[in-house]
């Protein structure tokens, strides 16, 4: 398997870092080498936030080089342009529009629903490991709504 590069992008408060944490953990639980990069600091102030997840074998730099993203997961459509640098013609861009936000138990679950959508394309990670990673990243009271959001995302991806 070739190493996988995923860029998550959105705005402060949307759960970009949580989404990348869950993905990195799911890959870790599967037994891959994983690195995850992000920049904190100003993110709580509503600005652009992005995070890189790389997994596979022998990952070196934690940052995804320009033009090598396999997936760009957008939590806000406006962030496509600022992250175009990471994309090539073969990059799969997942737009937040693939999830019907009104179907989610809580609109804040968009990040997890997009992970559900993404998970269908990452067959090397089992659904069980995604579920474990979700459980480890949310307090118990939020688990049910996030599981629902994750499944809505999976169902939205029929490919």
């Amino acid at each position: 398997m070739k190493n996988i590069n995923i860029v998550f992008a959105g705005l402060g408060g949307q759960g970009v870092l949580r989404a990348s944490d869950i993905t990195a953990e799911a890959a870790f639980l599967t037994g891959f080498d994983v690195k995850k990069a992000e920049v904190h600091g100003m993110s709580q102030r509503g600005g652009s936030v992005s995070s890189d997840v790389r997994f596979g074998e022998g990952i070196k730099s934690p940052m995804i080089p320009a033009g090598t993203a396999d997936y760009l997961v957008l939590l806000d459509a406006s962030q496509k342009e600022p992250n175009a640098l990471y994309c090539s013609e073969s990059t799969v861009i997942i737009d937040p529009g693939v999830i019907k936000i009104e179907t989610l138990p809580n609109p804040k679950g968009l990040n997890v629903a997009l992970l559900g959508y993404l998970s269908k394309m990452l067959s090397m990670i089992s659904e069980e490991n995604w579920q474990k990673a979700l459980e480890n990243n949310f307090p118990e009271k939020l688990r049910e709504s996030n599981t629902i959001a994750f499944n809505i995302g999976r169902e939205a991806n029929n490919n």
Partner: protein
């Protein structure tokens, strides 16, 4: 040893290692990207404190280590400037226990006011320095630093960068060990730095650095990446080694873990066995200059690569001496003051008044951006007050009278108090007005406690240091208001204070909305815990 594999960022890895090393104390001042070290250490059961500023933190840690305890002190790079005074002399006194200084640089300035290279401090003060490249090395090097500190009797710098602190990689962590209580031994000749003793201490310091260099050549941590037997050689430090391994897969890469004092003999051996010998380091050309000065035939980077972070693409260009500009990403959405942030009201009033605003370090520095554009200067922690006094001293009266200082509550505790003393002592001809934006938290770095919140690092209650009481005791007239309740009259109110031409501090008291939410969540959790 019994090990567990975890996916941790560099800060967390250091905290886990600190628990394994059985540290007696972790202390620091919050600063991106170093903040999570102590927060994690505390959540893992370690004893951690926020100090009012980095100088105090360093001194407390030095005291703990002189007493025979093991301590870490954490800060961001600019905190090293604040703490430099005690470090330079602690290099002379040495330590009895262990002292590790975690200094987190921010190349590229993701969240900082400059991109200084703190490695210069190791050279200037004569303190050994370790530079990890990933979370596993953060873990291993913290343990090594604790050991070396004790073995050689010196504080040790663990130099981090934003990408190392905030990237998650896989770490093998060992079990936790509880701290041991040290016992005090008097050693005035080592610990009292009067000139007669200090002269001897300086000689000891230089000897110690020689010993450390030799140790580094023999036993120092050194990682090799890339194909064995490769012709072309690269010497890389910290995270740059990871970028280089990916950017230059044909090269053999040597990453010395201890970058001061450098293992010169060992590097010389590597250089002699390889060709090209490119030095890849972020920031200032420190390693390359040292190697060149010692007659090693190595090649450094062009000046263009002194700026910003390195990454895989930039290391490729660095190796090719390609200084064409990097492709600029389309601008993202800049950060801004949160909707409902109480600071907004003050900045609107200052904008409307046309004041000259000396600002400070925190969320509220965002007051410089549209729509408010209500900030004229921002230099370092506390300069809002002192720099404003300087401006008032030299400007003509009609301009001087428009000047105000704006400072946050945590920054005020950090470095505002001495400025306030100066305001009273060297009172400007037309007085001065300081606006304390008191949102009851250190918001910028992620809602940490400080002496003005009345809660310790782990959010347990302690005595609150009241800024109003302190200011009054210094001789400042204090006005405490809720900006939200004033709203439309805030502008006139500030003008009235300026017109009095005395020394005044207006405390704009209104909690950060994010901090309030966290506080309520904690109270709820505590109530539930009690029920069970």
């Amino acid at each position: 040893m019994d090990c567990t594999r975890k996916l941790l960022n560099g800060d967390e890895a250091i905290a886990y290692a600190a628990r394994n090393a059985g540290l007696n104390l972790g202390i620091g001042y919050p600063g991106t990207p170093s903040t999570e070290i102590l927060e994690t250490f505390s959540s893992l059961g370690g004893y951690a404190q926020w100090a009012p500023n980095e100088k105090v933190a360093a001194e407390v840690a030095i005291g703990a280590a002189l007493a025979g305890g093991k301590a870490i002190v954490t800060m961001k790079h600019v905190g090293m400037n604040v703490a430099a005074d005690p470090f330079f002399t602690a290099a002379y006194t040495g330590v009895k226990g262990s002292l590790v200084i975690c200094a987190a640089d921010d190349p590229g300035m993701a969240s900082s006011q400059n991109e200084q290279d703190s490695r210069r401090y190791a050279v200037a003060a004569g303190l050994p320095m370790l530079e990890p490249a990933d979370s596993q090395q953060c873990y291993d090097y913290l343990l090594l630093a604790v050991e070396l500190s004790n073995k050689f009797g010196t504080p040790v710098i663990l130099r981090l960068t934003t990408r190392v602190c905030h990237s998650k990689t896989i770490v093998k962590v060992g079990p936790f060990n509880e701290p041991k209580t040290p016992s005090y031994t008097k050693d005035a000749k080592s610990h009292v730095m009067v000139p007669a003793f200090a002269r001897l201490a300086h000689v000891r310091l230089r000897k110690r650095l020689k010993d450390l260099e030799e140790w580094n050549c023999q036993n120092g941590p050194c990682t090799f990446l890339g194909p064995e037997g490769a012709k072309s050689g690269v010497i890389a430090t910290g995270i740059s080694a990871m970028h280089a391994a990916e950017a230059l897969p044909e090269a053999r890469i040597m990453q010395p873990g201890m970058t001061y004092p450098l293992p010169l003999a060992k590097i010389k051996e590597f250089v002699n066995a390889h060709e090209g010998n490119l030095v890849v380091e972020e920031g200032d050309p420190i390693v390359v200059e040292t190697l060149l000065a010692n007659g090693l035939k190595v090649r450094g980077k062009k000046e263009a690569f002194r700026f910003g972070e390195l990454n895989v693409a930039r290391v490729k260009k660095l190796a090719a001496d390609d200084i064409t500009p990097d492709p600029a990403p389309a601008p993202g959405k800049p950060p801004q003051l949160c909707p409902g942030c109480p600071h907004r009201l003050t900045f609107q009033a200052l904008h409307d008044l046309g004041c000259t605003v000396c600002g400070d370090i925190g969320c509220y520095t965002l007051g410089v951006l549209p729509p408010y554009e209500a900030m004229d200067t921002c230099v370092c922690m506390g300069a809002s007050i002192s720099a404003a006094l300087g401006m008032r001293e030299v400007l003509p009266a009609e301009q001087a009278k428009r000047i105000v200082s704006v400072i946050g509550d945590s920054t005020f505790m950090h470095s505002g108090l001495t400025g306030l003393v100066d305001m009273v002592y060297n009172r400007p001809p037309h007085g001065h007005v300081v606006i304390l934006l008191d949102n009851s938290t250190t918001a910028m770095t992620g809602l940490q406690e400080h002496p003005g919140t009345g809660r310790r690092l782990d959010h347990t209650e302690t005595v609150r240091v009241d800024p109003a009481a302190v200011a009054r005791a210094i001789g400042v007239r204090v006005e405490e208001v809720d900006p939200l309740a004033m709203k439309d009259t805030l502008k006139d109110f500030i003008q009235e204070q300026l017109d009095k031409e005395d020394v005044c501090m207006i405390i704009m008291k209104r909690s950060c909305l994010l901090a309030l939410k966290h506080l309520k969540d904690r109270e709820k959790a505590q109530a539930e815990e009690k029920k069970n």
